[in-house]
């Protein structure tokens, strides 16, 4: 009977663990949808560079989050019914979902390192694509215009980026305009406050903060939602699955 009690204890642990896993899965599903929706509209920075697996990871996490939810519910019934076959199916399904979720976490955090490990990639992309005629150029230009307006910043590290390197923008508009007009401080009616001050780079007329801090913080926030949260779920599910395997062997 000791064995039976042990099995009973394992069953209770499994049921509670699976309830918790179901809740975690739904939360992952929700958070991954938030990342995929990209409220800050920074996807083009990742998309044009080809390092967009933060968002690919979020799509995978939408699938795995919901799958964890469904499979965990199934696991509750499999444990309560003390059925070997069902427990085995539960284990196999959970392992498959586990592997997909691992892929999502790892790839999201790796591509985040590529994108915002330092400011070089974002800076080079800005200099190459801002004001460029191509489709990618249009995307990057729109994104940067929005960021500069919302965050009140100019350039990646600072407006110096625009004069420290040549760029597509400087080829088209230099030397009359050293930096885009979106770098200029504006009135509430969106008129440029002081065009001459902005043109020569006087601090009263131009934003002096760089935009990289904002871009890095947003992309990192997305990444932590997918990779660190996914990682914590996987650590919990790891131990749950080991317990489920012990339970299966005792059935």
């Amino acid at each position: 009977m000791a064995d039976g009690e042990g099995t009973m204890a394992l069953m209770i642990v499994l049921v509670i663990g699976n309830v918790f896993t179901a809740m975690l899965g739904v939360a992952l599903f929700a958070v991954a949808i938030w990342v995929a929706v990209d409220a800050y509209d920074l996807y083009p920075i990742a998309g044009v560079s080809g390092k967009d697996d933060i968002f690919a990871g979020s799509w995978i996490a939408i699938f795995t989050g919901f799958a964890f939810f469904c499979t965990a519910i199934y696991g509750i019934f499999a444990a309560l019914r003390k059925s070997r076959g069902q427990m085995l199916l539960y284990l196999v399904l959970m392992l498959i979902i586990y592997i997909f979720e691992c892929a999502s976490c790892i790839t999201a955090v790796t591509h985040r390192d590529y994108l915002v490990g330092n400011s070089n990639l974002v800076k080079k992309q800005m200099l190459k694509y801002y004001a460029d005629d191509s489709y990618a150029g249009g995307q990057i230009t729109k994104t940067w215009n929005r960021v500069m307006e919302d965050v009140q910043c100019c350039g990646t590290d600072s407006p110096m980026d625009w004069i420290a390197y040549t760029s597509t923008f400087s080829e088209k508009f230099g030397p009359t305009y050293q930096w885009p007009l979106r770098c200029c401080k504006r009135n509430s009616n969106f008129e440029v406050a002081n065009p001459e001050a902005c043109k020569i780079g006087h601090t009263s007329g131009i934003f002096t903060k760089g935009c990289f801090e904002h871009i890095e913080s947003v992309l990192s926030r997305y990444t932590w939602a997918i990779s660190w949260y996914g990682f914590s779920i996987l650590m919990f599910v790891f131990f749950l699955l080991l317990i489920a395997m012990v339970y299966y062997m005792k059935l």
Partner: protein
């Protein structure tokens, strides 16, 4: 007597030809050197009202350019913002109160600048225009693997492996009991 008069005149002569400071404008601007232009500070306001000439010399090719009567020295007054009536022609844009932007320079070249106000000259200022490298020279490869990436990758890879092995063992032992 004559010696004293000569001495006095000598002093006046030195004072008249005193050299005043000339610096690049560094106050409150992003940069004073661009690829094709440079922003110079203004002559001291003690010379207010007098017309300024600028003489600059490309130190490489020894090409001299003189711009005559480019602006009158502004009055002494407390610091204010930029006055918003610029003068423009093909050669320059004047920023009153702040500095003077010398346009149409060659990039990556050293120039020597000197103001001439009547008989007074400023000290010569050596300044180099920027030679901005191409953006293609920025290295945008993977900068470094962050701690987060290493931890997540290593721990998850190990966990996946353990689970896979454990599942195989479970199947093996589970079935052999039947």
């Amino acid at each position: 007597m004559k010696t004293i008069i000569l001495g006095v005149f000598g002093v006046f002569f030195t004072v008249a030809n005193a050299e005043f400071e000339l610096k690049l404008l560094s106050d409150e601007v992003i940069s004073s050197t661009f690829e094709r232009s440079v922003i110079l500070g203004l002559p001291p306001c003690t010379l207010a009202g007098r017309s300024v000439d600028l003489e600059y010399n490309n130190t490489g090719t020894n090409e001299k350019t003189i711009l005559r009567n480019i602006f009158p020295v502004p009055l002494c007054r407390s610091k204010r913002g930029l006055i918003s009536f610029p003068e423009q022609n093909a050669h320059f844009t004047l920023k009153r109160d702040l500095g003077y932007q010398v346009m149409n320079l060659a990039n990556g070249t050293e120039y020597s600048f000197q103001y001439i106000v009547d008989t007074e000259r400023s000290k010569a200022l050596l300044a180099t225009t920027r030679a901005a490298p191409s953006y293609t020279q920025i290295d945008d490869g993977l900068p470094a693997r962050s701690g987060a990436m290493v931890v997540i990758t290593v721990i998850l890879s190990v966990a996946m492996f353990i689970l896979l092995v454990a599942l195989i063992i479970t199947l093996f032992f589970g079935n052999s009991e039947d």
